[in-house]
């Protein structure tokens, strides 16, 4: 029951703040005495559940760019597999400190996040909205208008995605706090599309690492069920809260929590 409530609370808060639940869930599990190597797969289960829950809504909004997601994910999944394999080879102390660094990085990403939208144009016919065939460009609907975009600097984006995948595989966090800023700042994709595409891709990153963890027998099924239930429900609650309230205050609070958690992990 404690695991269910923890997964529910962290997923709701994470989805509300736009960071994802795993970046809070994994450090908190480690603080309660669970080894980082066992907590990482549970974090990735939380990420994959959240991605699955958000999928239908984001597809209906037509803000996911599948070609961009699939392209960048080739690098991220390779990083996730490498990270999952490495996490079984390095010591517990290293993993805990790595997790602390990741929590600090997430806090920094949260503090620096900018909700920048793309350029607004007159809304084209409904059939014109979506991603462009054979390229990394597209148009997404915004209330009365639409925003065109085209991803740039793909090699640099792929390099950052590889790092995000490595972080996800080793720490059990989604890596979304790296992927979304990289997609907006490096590849110049509007934040709405970047966030939706990241939600799609973190599910794949998690799946790639979870297969490695499953084969190595590192997924605790007793803890998996409450994490999945809590993440599916918590993610929905967080998304609804995000639609009603401004998440800036929650994001700031999560940033403070992450800094405190990272500090405790460092001095343990």
């Amino acid at each position: 029951m404690a695991m269910l409530l923890l997964a529910l609370a962290t997923s709701a808060a994470g989805a509300f703040g736009g960071l994802g639940g795993a970046i809070i869930l994994v450090p908190v599990l480690v603080l309660t005495g669970m080894p980082a190597a066992q907590a990482a797969p549970l974090g990735l289960l939380s990420v994959a559940s959240g991605s699955l829950a958000a999928g239908p809504t984001q597809l209906a909004e037509r803000t996911v760019h599948h070609r961009l997601g699939v392209t960048t994910e080739t690098a991220a999944s390779a990083g996730a597999v490498a990270g999952a394999l490495l996490s079984g080879a390095v010591g517990e102390a290293f993993l805990t400190r790595f997790l602390a660094v990741v929590a600090l990085a997430a806090a920094a990403a949260s503090a620096l996040r900018r909700d920048v939208a793309g350029r607004l144009i007159e809304r084209p016919p409904d059939i014109d909205l979506g991603e462009e065939r054979g390229s990394l460009a597209g148009i997404y609907p915004v209330q009365d208008g639409a925003t065109p975009y085209a991803a740039t600097r793909l090699p640099a984006g792929l390099a950052v995605m590889l790092t995000a995948g490595l972080v996800a595989g080793m720490a059990g966090a989604s890596g979304g706090f790296i992927k979304t800023p990289a997609t907006t700042e490096i590849m110049k994709v509007p934040v709405k599309v970047a966030a939706s595409t990241t939600t799609f891709t973190v599910g794949i990153t998690s799946a790639a690492a979870l297969i490695v963890f499953a084969i190595h027998g590192r997924i605790n099924l007793d803890h998996a069920a409450p994490v999945i239930v809590g993440s599916l429900v918590g993610g929905q609650i967080g998304a609804r809260l995000q639609a009603r309230f401004a998440p800036a205050a929650v994001r700031a609070a999560l940033g403070v929590v992450l800094v405190v958690v990272a500090g405790i992990l460092f001095v343990r």
């Binding site: 699955l52 994910e73 975009y149 490695v212």
Partner: protein, 116 residues
């Protein structure tokens, strides 16, 4: 809400230094994929709930099913996209990228099996 009626003009515009051709945007709403994801979402929830509430050995089996669904869902989505792009979209380049992604995940699984 403003909509463009009649001939699509302008059909091309420049953004971030590149031309976006609106005539090539995909006229697809992914209704089947949305339905499939909703179904998998519910199945994962029910299986995980069973894994939470039922006694062993059903509990362990249900938890394993829930984990399996959560892991398989994004990979099924990529496979679905690869097939759609190859056979219906005529976009073989990105179909190959999607197949490559599945190959990366598959290669990772093989490496995990070897290093187990």
């Amino acid at each position: 809400m403003k909509t463009v009626i009649g001939p699509r003009a302008p059909v091309r515009f420049r953004r971030a230094g590149r031309v976006v051709d609106r005539r090539r945007t995909e006229q697809v709403r992914y209704p089947r994929m949305i339905a499939m994801l909703r179904l998998l979402n519910r199945l994962a929830f029910v299986a995980a709930l069973a894994g939470l509430l039922l006694p062993d050995p059903v509990r362990a089996a249900a938890s394993a099913v829930a984990v399996g669904i959560v892991v398989a869902a994004p990979l099924l989505r990529v496979a679905w996209l690869a097939i759609r792009w190859y056979f219906r979209g005529g976009d073989r380049r990105y179909a190959a990228v999607a197949a490559g992604l599945l190959l990366v995940v598959g290669a990772g699984s093989v490496i995990a099996l070897v290093t187990r």
